[in-house]
Symmetry: C2
Subunit: 388 residues, 2 copies
């Protein structure tokens, strides 16, 4: 186990009707910026509930609406201007990962003297010390951003997607009300499940020896997510399924699984290149690439870890380690494709063989990715071809 | 899953040599109260390391030494006086649960206008809002107090042991350096393992339906603790064993397993009565009472949960639920007695049958205990007789 500093001061208000108490958490603020995405929070009545609560408590608010999936630096700029013009002292993000990431970037960008895109360039992270206070009402179980220090923003002009990881953008609180995810479609729910599982895999497969506890915790989150995924698909109003998926997706990327370990993140690296070039949904890309990555990194040496994964997560009883590992990978792929109805191959999403080179180039951008096994361009091409 | 508020702002500096960086965390303080127990930290050289670090950084300190197991309100009073006399602005607890609990009580007692024992009486918790900042260097993996809001203090005059649970006594940080537990004796190590497992059981066995994720997390911590217990006993300098046990014992009682669930705590209730009357070590009492409690609450209805425990923690494959449950309980008892060398019965620790009535009386003190199954005096007597 590696040394680590555990530091997660974000409050979580979890459960039924928690979002109705929003005003209670905002008493010491005067001008709120309400950030949200497209119209879904108006359609579901959530917008109306929140704004009524704010009005009842005489909390004044401005709105930044229309934050898109893969949130853009242009929305961040717009948000910063609103904050300055209206003396905003608190940002309330209502939505999924995109809305929250955009809000995080606005919160730090408010104090940043240059254009906010420069926060994402040149490893400026150490200079990011101050941000407007931020709270979240989560409507989608997937990214885990509601309980961490990360934000990913896209610059449409430069075709870049970059991240910051800093303490100052951590939300003060996040409201996790599972009932708010009842209206999430089956496909979006499946995407959230894949996203959560992929986050866990990126931390689970590691060269750190004897981070035994972290591995068992990771298996708990995987088991829970795998168990409730199909239940939520079939019964969208099943509270326990929604609650377990929500809390699992949050814990999957709040640091708990990473502390004390080296982590991988190669599959995410390849997927970011894939979705930048093909515009495929992130989780769909992950569902296709994950089994291919697993098969690529499976060796006699890593079969120990993969067979452990199979035994503890999929109840595989096969004694031969390599065979057990192969079965575990097959179970993973079957779960994605048969249980969650995700596409199986890159061909299924109309990626052509002649695009693979470009994707591989973008994924490596001159350096190897991944830590469980370092991947260079030829490795990535092999993974992409296997996934075709 | 029940609604909950997650709030754990305590920083953990985990790993090898972390305690040597103590001065870096104390830069903004001027007068430290160093609280510790008997002479073990002097014997191991830890006292010398810490005081040298403080002196190197020109941090002045006073000492409260001699805090005993089952820390006493008299030590708390002494500590408060020292804080007032020497303008203490930070308390540094170096030791196990007793030293930390005593320090927590001092930190709140400093601002408390009456005698500190009154903090523990009359549900005064809501009035406890302020405390001196506190940091811990942990030397024993067991109680979990280093990452929670609890403190238990004994009043020798009134023969009472009482607890407070308040936010203001949470440490600012705790340093968890597994190498500091290398010198913990085999018996004390075994006691820590039992203590940790008992904390997990009290939260695991619950009537809350579908706190599925919390149950899987609890099983992760149990599996880890059970795995590394005997390794630490046989190889006291095994870093991975000490590290996994330390982190597991901390996570076992920091709130993670409790959030979203009803919890039990009957076994602790009975044990506190047992140790108040017989002076047995807390964990020894727990090791004897836990299997007896399990057998008492095992019914057709609860056999589902106990068989799940058996399957997920002890790899029991027996199909019949009741039989699987009985096997799981037997495994638990065998682990305590054969692997950890704990006494098996109350007779083994010289408790006599004519003491049981008094213990049961003290345990109930006019109201039923436990939530998984409510226990009245006859239930407790049955458990005690079974454990005799």
């Amino acid at each position: 186990m590696l040394n680590f500093t555990y530091d997660i001061p974000i409050k979580i208000y979890f459960g039924k009707d928690q979002h109705k108490k929003i005003a209670a958490h905002l008493k010491s603020y005067h001008n709120i910026l309400l950030v949200y995405g497209q119209n879904s929070i108006k359609r579901t009545g959530l917008y109306s509930t929140i704004t009524k609560e704010l009005e009842k408590s005489n909390i004044s608010y401005k709105e930044l609406q229309g934050v898109q999936p893969n949130p853009r630096i242009s929305s961040v700029r717009k948000g910063i201007t609103l904050c300055k013009d209206h003396h905003i002292d608190f940002i309330l993000a209502v939505g999924g990962g995109s809305t929250i990431d955009c809000s995080k970037a606005i919160s730090a960008g408010f104090y940043w003297k240059e254009d906010p895109w420069t926060m994402f360039e040149h490893n400026n992270e150490t200079h990011l010390k101050e941000a407007l206070p931020l709270g979240c009402i989560l409507t989608l179980s997937a990214t885990g951003t509601e309980m961490n220090r990360n934000a990913v923003i896209t610059n449409q002009e430069t075709q870049e997607k970059k991240a910051i990881h800093v303490d100052c953008i951590r939300p003060q609180f996040s409201i996790l009300d599972p009932t708010l995810t009842y209206t999430v479609s089956a496909h979006q729910t499946a995407c959230g499940v894949v996203d959560t599982m992929s986050h866990i895999f990126e931390q689970y497969f590691s060269n750190t020896k004897e981070a035994y506890l972290q591995d068992r915790l990771a298996e708990s989150l995987l088991t829970t997510t795998i168990h409730y995924g199909p239940i939520a698909l079939q019964q969208p109003h099943n509270y326990e399924a929604r609650a377990n998926l929500m809390w699992a997706s949050t814990l999957a990327l709040n640091g708990l699984l990473t502390y004390g370990k080296e982590t991988d993140w190669a599959t995410h690296g390849i997927e970011h290149a894939l979705s930048a070039i093909t515009d495929v949904t992130h989780a769909v890309g992950l569902a296709i690439l994950t089994p291919a990555w697993m098969r690529h990194v499976l060796t006699e040496e890593t079969s120990e870890k993969f067979s452990e994964y199979g035994r503890n997560v999929w109840n595989i009883t096969e004694k031969d380690k390599f065979k057990a590992a192969e079965q575990a990978i097959q179970h993973t792929q079957d779960y994605f494709t048969k249980t969650l109805h995700m596409p199986k191959t890159l061909s299924d999403i109309n990626v052509k063989e002649d695009q693979l080179e470009k994707i591989a180039d973008k994924a490596v951008s001159n350096r190897a990715i991944g830590r469980y096994k370092k991947l260079n361009k030829p490795d990535i091409l092999e993974i992409l071809k296997d996934a075709l």
